[in-house]
Amino acid sequence: MGIITSFLETLADLARQSGIAGFLVDGGWKNIIMILISFVFMYLAIAKGFEPLLLLPISFGMLLTNLPYAEMYHPEFWDYGTITESSGAVNDHYIDYGRILQHGGLLDILYMGVKLQIYPPLIFLGIGAMTDFGPLIANPKSFLLGAAAQGGIFFTFIGAAVLGMSAAECGSIAIIGGADGPTAIYVSSRLLSKTDNIGVGTIALAAYTYMALVPIIQPPIMRALTTKKERSVVMGQLRQVSKVEKLIFPILVTIIISLMIPSAAPLVGMLMFGNLLKESGCCDRIAKTAQNELMNIITIFLGVSVGATTRADKILTIQFGEVILLGVIAFSIGTACGVLLGKVMYLVSGGKINPLIGSAGVSAVPMAARVSQKVGQEEVPTNYLLMHAMGPNVAGVIGSAVAAGVLLSIIKV
């Protein structure tokens, strides 16, 4: 009899400690909803091909973090504390990394790379090693289109401020308009804290979802803002860029941008370092590692740990709806600003520039450039705008990193 009682008690203990019991405690139902949402994102990634390389790790991180008692991620470890530094200065953004290393779960440890701003610059290293800045060097005016498309970031800042959001939330939502996932994560992880109603995961989800929707969001805006005549412009061939020019470019950009906006240095510096590795021709092994293995490893760490921050208390809120709404506005305004400046350049150049390449200024490399190519070919099937659109596209990457640096310089945590 004693054996049976002991057996039943053990079973009851196991049941109480199980994750299933965790769903039944106060607020446990929210985790079930979050798990269901993670299934939706997994479906979008696998079946619909929505940015699967990032959306799948993010959605799986979302699943792991919402399993009760799995203890893989502890949001309370990431709350800012206040300490007095040895210099006497009071630091109200203190995170106890020693505690995280000792008691944190796997996803806590991986999330350190996000919070310490390690992953986004390393992703930029890989992007730089894959990017050919030749079209931008051949036509430096493309920089203007990359700058104009950042209008989406700053105009969305107004929208977020109107909704009464904090300066950190405004900056984090606005950066979605840059259409650059690593930059959005970089800015939001630096600005957002527990007191904000949105989290890094929310921003990342919105950013990558909209980046996946570039081919759907951009074309109607591009068609609405341009005439058939403008869309039919066939642009001349770009000049050949020498190897020395390609070698000077990353060094020049790093120096100018980092001196001007030091907060943009980690992103721009690593982007250009990756590009220099590629263009130098003497570091093929390192360049290939940055393009492939390193990039893939960081993508896994970044995706799954950012997904872990998507807890019910940050997602099942009205603010999440506001982020989604403002995110699409940011994206649309960015596209519109690029196309409008493209129209100005069309007029100034006497009809030699196709304004459709302006929409590619929103980063999202190379998807946005492909959209310019596709919409251009709808008018003239033999028109090949891809290389011309790659100029504003890569300029947009630099532009969004600069815009991120500006936001981080203006908004202090």
Partner: protein, 148 residues
Amino acid sequence: MDRCFNDVAQLLLKGTDRHLDAGTVSSVVITGLVVVFIGLILLILFVTLYGLIFKNINDKKAAKIKAEAEAAAENTRKEAENSARSAPAAPMEIEDGISDEIVAVIAAAVAAMSAQSGKKLVLRSVKNAKPSRSVWASAGIAENTRQF
């Protein structure tokens, strides 16, 4: 100057600030756009400047190479005429789609090398090279860049 720094200092926001007033928000928007444009316009100036310098250098190099190629082509023509008189040459294999001008330029380059090395080089065939990056490699790069 002091006033300028004061204005910038006033623009700095604390992350927790809520209900930002219209003046602050417009300052952020204007400052942000102006700084991004100034940064990228500076890059345009520098890239255009060194682009012009290199274009100039490359044009000079191209002109020199062209002059050498023309001289070499003239020599080749003369040599070809001479050799045609002495013995019939084996027919040159030229792939479809390659123009006579390209063949002439390659022949000129070979003749120039021939003149430099002192060895008699013969152009036997002209074929299109296969692309350095295979279709699979291109597809791999496209796949890896898709998420950005």
